[in-house]
Symmetry: C2
Subunit: 401 residues, 2 copies
């Protein structure tokens, strides 16, 4: 019996299954951590910077020695030395002296400002003319200004970007604690499917979903195991599911989930595990199945690749992220829709769109064409469940892929 | 001598260097091709689908047999068989007969429409009632409807997405010809730099740029070789650059490119190669250097990580893509800016922004803080060269990362 859920209910049920489960934590070298999910908060255990630094090339001074100076009336200071890059300054600024310092150099003892070299003149003989007055604090970043010891700098659950790796580096994390990638088993069912290497005969098509879902699993932050094409029969499908759950954190079965002639997936999940729902009030993807086998989440996805991918994006991605303690961050942008779309009462509808050069959202539709449906799109819009449709020119929210 | 270029001029000069150069082509298994760049147009050599297919579960019919039928006056047809999934139909539709067919099944000879099972009733005894008339072509995708043999389905230079892998699968590409990933050498210079594993003393900071640029190289589609920290001296830097160009397609040197005290990078590039420009009228990143050593592009990037990354994004990414024959696709969205930003006459300025919950662009500014500057942002806006600044509430274009 179909127990059709709303998308929100479905996400709630899916969310319960990962609430108590997380993948393990592992340590990886920082250079292998791009795109991985941080396992715990990164707390600074030192100040950054660890010393007062100049932010420009110039001269460290006592600000009050520069007050009132100008191009026509420079303050003339005695050059008392130079701060070497990478070394602690061993100079102390006394009144009417200055010390040369480069960008990033250690601020000499007593200095309270740095004057940019562009606003100075070297008169030779150890005399430097200062053309512009400096206020205390000018061109200095003070110890701990950027981060203080004890600050939480990155939150657990962050999917690490290049910038985050920069932050980890600055704080000396050579190794990073990250969540293990969820292992995602991919099974395709359907007696009409043939391997990629075969030329399909009449009534046959190549197995697109395996490749598509293996790639999706990788994009979602997981690692895929491909179990290939399984015949649409109870025994081989049951065996494949049981074997896959023994090796994987999540199993995706595509095909065989139509309420039509060959409704095997729900039956198999029910007979060896627990069926949590069968059907989501969403287009595409109504016949989506979700359950637990040996405590592991198992999805039954539509057989049509475009629908399978959409359902994976909407319902599998949050699960994969959730298993790593991360939330899916979807970028939503407003746009004008370029043409009217009709309603589909009773089901939320997700429609792929392309963003035109004019910034407008152009819906991508057509027959159930496989390749046409897989062509490049920028994101999708959602037509609400009880909508009368969306007129051309209306403002819509595009959820970018 | 500084030869400052506009960003456009700089991109033009960079573009010349990859115009005649491409990385090699290699074949990879389709499951390893996600994110890789397609080396040549994908031309379909067969029709998709290869046979007329039903797009629903139902009954294949002669449309004219259903004309005028309704719920109260069904057309009653004789069930003449069933199309098995994965098999060629061996039935032929004769007047007043129908054949059961599943979604994706081969259309029987003579049929010109399929009626969805939901609009039929099985009376038993081999009789099927049709409740809704079908027009010829209903619920059928015809041979070649999706793609015809000879169609260009994917263009050379496409960076392959999961959807593209689906298309390749449908056409039977088990192996995919892709461009080799450009090899990107990363060198950090600066006597103030210490390795990540070291605790910086006064005057020292950890080498953030190596990690950041290695991750950036990977994000841009390349593969990085890390040459570590090189002292700010002519001989070691020259040796490192010569060694790196012998192994890499592109070399990135960060640090040492200020026009201040330690202006080594330009000198080294000039002495062992050809300096093409020194300086871009852009903030951040003015002291950016670009040249050729042994014919290989070499960049000198700013030492400050936030600036180094911005310059890499704006100028190195197009080069890395160009070496693979791909164009950088930047997603630009309009937004209202939440606060005024001041102008910076004479230099284009790139300012990182965060998109607020209200959709407004909030500029991210501050001192030259390292970590503050590396915190999450959504993209950047460009303040034009001769702008008077941008007032709060103005419409800006955000270039998303």
């Amino acid at each position: 019996m179909l127990e059709v859920k709303t998308p929100k209910e479905a996400l709630g049920i899916i969310g319960e299954t990962y609430k108590a489960h997380r993948t393990q934590i592992e340590k990886v070298p920082i250079n292998n951590s791009l795109g991985r999910v941080l396992s715990s908060d990164l707390v600074a255990i030192e100040h950054v910077p660890g010393f007062d630094r100049s932010t420009v090339d110039g001269y460290a001074v006592l600000a009050k020695d520069t007050f009132g100076c100008s191009e026509s009336m420079p303050a003339v200071l005695t050059l008392a030395g130079e701060v070497l890059m990478g070394a602690a300054s061993n100079n102390e600024i006394k009144p009417d002296t200055c010390v040369a310092v480069s960008t990033g150099g250690d601020l000499p003892e007593g200095a309270d400002a740095v004057v940019m070299v562009e606003h100075t003149e070297d008169y030779g003989g150890g005399l430097i003319g200062i053309m512009r007055p400096a206020a205390p604090g000018n061109n200095i970043i003070f110890k701990g200004d950027d981060v203080s010891s004890g600050d939480i700098v990155l939150k657990a659950g962050t999917m690490l970007t290049a910038h985050d790796l920069g932050i980890l580096s600055a704080l000396g994390s050579c190794e990073v604690g990250v969540m293990k990638k969820p292992v995602i088993g991919v099974i395709s069912t359907g007696d009409e499917l043939v391997e990629l290497s075969q030329k399909p005969g009449r009534g046959q098509i190549r197995d697109v979903n395996t490749t598509l879902l293996v790639a999706a699993a990788e994009q979602f932050g997981g690692v895929a195991i491909n179990y290939g094409i399984i015949r649409d029969e109870e025994r081989p499908l049951t065996d494949a599911v049981k074997y896959a759950v023994s090796e994987c954190d999540v199993v995706l079965i595509s095909g065989g989930s139509s309420a039509g002639l060959r409704d095997l997936t729900a039956h198999v999940v029910e007979s060896v595990g627990e069926l949590l729902f069968h059907g989501i009030a969403v287009k595409p993807g109504k016949p989506t199945i979700f359950g637990l086998v040996e405590g592991k989440p198992v999805f039954g996805l539509p057989g049509h690749p475009v629908a399978a991918y959409m359902v994976a994006e909407l319902f599998v991605r949050p699960l994969v992220s959730g298993l790593m303690g991360a939330a899916v961050k979807r970028r939503i942008i407003p746009a004008i829709i370029s043409e009217a779309v009709s309603s589909n009462h009773g089901r939320e509808e997700y429609l792929a769109v392309i963003i035109g050069d004019d910034g407008a959202a152009k819906p991508v539709r057509g027959k159930s064409g496989l390749i046409a449906g897989l062509k490049y799109t920028d994101g999708h819009i959602c037509i609400p469940r009880d909508s009368e449709g969306i007129p051309a020119g209306a403002l819509v929210d595009i959820v970018l892929w």
